[in-house]
Amino acid sequence: MRLTTRLVAFLLFLFFAPLLHAQGITEGTPLRPVTRTFAITNARVVQAPGQVLERGTVVVRDGIIESVGANVLAPHDAEIIEGDSLTVYAGFIDAFSHVGVTQVEEDEEDIDDPGNPTNDRAGIMPQRDVRTMLDPSGGSIKDLRNIGFTVAHVVPEGRMLPGKGVAILLREPQRFEDAQGVVLTGSLSLYAQFERSEGVYPGTPMGIMAKMRDLFIEARRRRTSVNRYYSDPEGRARPAYDPVLVALQEALDANLPMYFRVENTNEAFRALNITEELELPMVLVGLPWSTPLTNRLADRRITAIAPLALPDTVAADTTALAIPVATPSPGASVSIQQRRARSHRDLENERAALRAQRAAAVGRYESNAATLQDAEIPFAFSTYEVKTGDIRENLRRMITAGLNADDALAALTTSPAELLGLGMLGTVEEGKMANLVLTDGDYFEEDTNVLLVFVEGVKYEIEEEEELEGADPDAVVDPAGTWAFSVATPDGEVEGTFTITGSGTSLTGTIRTDETRDLESVTLEGNVLNFSFTQPEMGSVRVSGVIDGDSFSGTATVGSLGSFSITATRRPN
């Protein structure tokens, strides 16, 4: 490989930067920190939901909370974080997620006999282990960590039975660390959903139900046949080895709960029915409105994982109603008696009545967590299919709809810790893993900022998303072309080119410095172009900048080394 002098300089900088900056307390780095001991002094410590130490010190050493208390002294070797205006929470746990999991291209080839596909083609893959599918270098882990999440229970993407899930730490792999370095546990879950595989059997929810019966009944029977054969093979045919049935047997032996993801009450009842019939332990994931099922959930002591996603708010237009709606606020249901419209004579009224129904439905979804809380059904939260930027706002909407702040916090900390069997997580107590969230106020208040997050004792500073100069979400620009870029580092300029192809939402690209690499997640929001790429020595690099004609300027964020300014100009065709 031939390296230019400048590239050598840049790489040298990258290697030495951690050391250069280690003395600077502002640059928390997972590489070679001077100290792995921290003391957060005089902070308000929410040790557990409802259990607050108004003024205390938390000492973290080597990834563990060494001590917490009002009279704890900071050790001499600790980096002191003055917490006078800070609140400390236990790091949040995402109870069900695909964060950091590589998306696998699903096989959707036409086959000759769609009634009898292979298990893989049918989406039946309980033998798949999410640990082999991790890619924690993408930006979504950082985004979740920036709002306080430190651990996630992750499952593979897929269809009917996509595989088994584990808990991971929400941090990027450290230098020379394998992607699996973030794994915290062995298999915790068997993931199931009513997701059909295009074009083959089972193609409907009833086919999926039938297939599950066949699979689990046969898995249990096959175990008996296998045992019988190996104890006395004479006169018996050897039961065929089937990786799917073996995986199901192992899940049954380990009493691995089936995390059944559903989208509505109909699917939820179906999931409850099949797991009850097949006697499978179950966790109900994703149900946006639980009221009709609370009795069933309570009877079977099923934990629910509530979605953090919510439908958009609907403004019920009460002025159009002849009889005003008494309680139009979200979270309250509106009686139809108060909005009866004579539809054929009064379209405005009918429209208003439909909107009011919709607003009431949004309100029911908003009060889902409160419903679970009031029915005393244990629940945790999932970031599945929610925009990270909406999570805190959605939590506030749920609290407005009746969720207690303490229960909201429990659903982010202690409840998922208990559900996932992660006793070392969920509270700020001596001996627990040092997963912490430091804020400048009550987490559930709108103005509160998350300032620092600790993941197993590693400190991450949360910078406020800097508004890029000249960013305009409504601008229309074409990013396609080859751009010559230059990154300003303290050791001089680094140059290269990147090429963007495609348009709209399907953008791809490559970047070339010493060699050519593919760009990941290329997006364009107005005139802001974002992309990232992975360089083995540096980890993940995220670039974000504004396009103005043929010039581009913004920032390149290199792992935990910090941000550097980047400029580029488009080459003429």
Binding site: Y201, T204, M206, G207, R238, P239, R270, I274, A353
Partner: protein, 502 residues
């Protein structure tokens, strides 16, 4: 004060009955459906305890406060599926179907069952009273062939899909259920589509609209039933669609013979393995169900049109010792009526619907009368979310064409489908001890002028025209501006939903 309130209430809710559009009424029609002013306040509470009186008074007040809404119902206000009601219907014309028609008769319902039928019955304390003056009460209508209340209809990747069960995909929130109730229907048999020679197990449902729990609709103790399909649908989906057997009616017959033979071998092999501890063949719910058919545990309901293939299936079943079958649609049933009667098969027809594809080019509106006169237990089915709302019209048309008696015509949509589904001990007629599933009309249900005004399931009023709300949806999508709710599915045969999504 109270009298004034009542009077103003009545003034608001009394309205003239619908007058036929610009026609002069013949005298017998007048006799059948007199134009009259009828109080829509059908319900009163015959109770003199002060507490209940005041409750009643309060509810009247509530009615007045929301004048213009007349206490419209919402779907979520409906009682839960496991509710069983108490009612007294007083002074109605009672069409029992199995035991004649009785004028000025009372029906007492306790705990969801018909406790007594007679005159001068008194309402036990707290029991709701329905003034039946001028009203006709018939058994709740039973539709032996529907595809509503389902979130999937066809599992169409195999020619035989006996392993799937419609009970797994019951959707109790569909508005079609409420619309069927508004047509006097209380029980439906909801089937797999007709894409496959053998579809899935069907489900018999009570229309207990108002619940989100699918199990709440399942008719407890109803026998297992399964859908078969002959003719063009399976040959079209699989034969022409995928170039596999069955490409012809002959191929359909061979599929049945092979499937039954395989199921017999499967069950023998399972039994043998269980006896001598050898390795059993892999569990297959498909084979289990087929073997259960051979054991007489599952009733067959077969989509069919042509006489030759109807006769063919009877021969196949005879060869395999199966004796319970109802042919559905069966438009050429009249050609093999004596054979159907001899076999003991049921027949469920359309009154006058045919010529919608080649194999059903030929039929007659006398079909059901010919079947009945030959001793075949016959019924009428909807197979449609639109037709299901007026099965009483379909019965009346059959009467008009075939000169049936009132009871014969009504039996087509009550006791006969109940027999075909194996639930005639529970529903299908108004008899003491049976379920209080009742349809109340403001005239004789076979009159074109009669309208269903109230539908009762297990003694619970699930449809009440006087309290019919604007928006009776149960499940409201918070994301949809206007939901796509259609009565007709144009260009879509409900029997073939999902069949071509290959």
């Amino acid at each position: 004060m109270r009298i004034t309130l009542l009077r103003s209430l009545l003034k608001y809710i009394i309205r003239p009955a619908a007058v036929p559009l610009g026609r002069s009424l013949r005298s017998e029609m007048l006799a059948e459906s007199p134009i009259r002013l009828r109080s829509r306040a059908l319900i009163s509470t015959e109770n003199h305890s002060p507490r209940l009186q005041s409750t009643y008074f309060n509810s009247l007040l509530a009615l007045l406060l929301f004048a213009g809404s007349a206490a419209a119902q919402t779907a979520v206000d409906l009682p839960p599926a496991n509710a069983r009601g108490d009612l007294l219907i007083r002074g109605a014309t009672v069409l029992t179907v199995t035991n004649g028609t009785h004028e000025n008769t009372d029906i007492l319902v306790r705990d969801g069952k018909i406790e007594r039928i007679g005159q001068g019955l008194s309402a036990p304390s707290g029991v709701q009273v329905i003034d039946g003056n001028g009203l006709h009460v018939m058994p709740g209508i039973i539709d032996p062939h529907a595809h509503i209340a389902l979130s999937a209809v066809n599992e169409a990747r195999n020619t035989i899909s006996a392993e799937v069960q419609m009970g797994d995909v019951t959707d109790p929130t569909q508005i079609s259920i409420y619309r069927a109730l508004a047509g006097g229907v209380t029980t439906i048999h909801t089937l797999h589509g007709s894409a496959n020679a053998i579809g899935g197990e069907s489900e018999t449902l009570k229309l207990r609209y108002g619940t989100f729990d699918p199990n709440g609709l399942h008719f407890e103790g109803a026998p297992r039933t399964i859908k078969f399909a002959l003719g063009e649908n399976p040959t079209r989906v699989h034969g022409r669609g995928r170039d596999i057997r069955p490409r012809s009616r002959m191929g359909v017959e061979q599929l049945y013979r092979e499937a039954f033979s395989e199921a017999r071998r499967y069950r023998d092999a399972q039994n043998e393995a269980a006896e001598n501890g050898s390795t059993p063949p892999p569990y297959s719910r498909r084979m289990e169900t087929l073997a259960d058919i051979l054991d007489g545990e599952v009733l067959i309901h077969c989509h069919s049109y042509r006489a030759d293939e109807i006769y063919m299936l009877m021969n196949v079943l005879r060869d395999f010792g199966v004796d319970r079958i109802t042919f559905q649609h069966v438009n050429e049933g009249f050609k093999v009526a004596p054979e159907l009667a001899e076999f003991g098969a049921g027949a469920s027809v359309f009154s006058d619907w045919w010529s919608y594809k080649f194999e059903v080019y030929y039929s007659t509106a006398y079909n059901v009368a010919i079947l009945l006169r030959n001793g075949v237990r016959a019924s009428i089915n909807s197979d449609s979310r639109e037709l299901i709302r007026h099965l009483y019209h379909e019965a009346a048309k059959s009467q008009r064409y075939g000169d049936l008696t009132d009871d014969e015509a009504l039996s087509l949509i009550t006791i006969n489908p109940a027999w075909q589904l194996g639930i005639d001990d529970r529903v299908g007629s108004i008899e003491e001890g049976k379920d209080a599933d009742l349809a109340i009309f403001d005239g004789h249900p076979l009159s074109i002028y009669a309208r269903p005004v109230m539908t009762i399931v297990d003694g619970i009023i699930r449809f009440d025209e006087a309290r019919d709300g604007d928006d009776m949806r149960l499940d409201i999508d918070p994301e949809a501006e206007i939901e796509d709710v259609r009565l007709y599915d144009h260009n879509e045969d409900s029997c073939l939903v999902d069949a071509f999504v290959l």
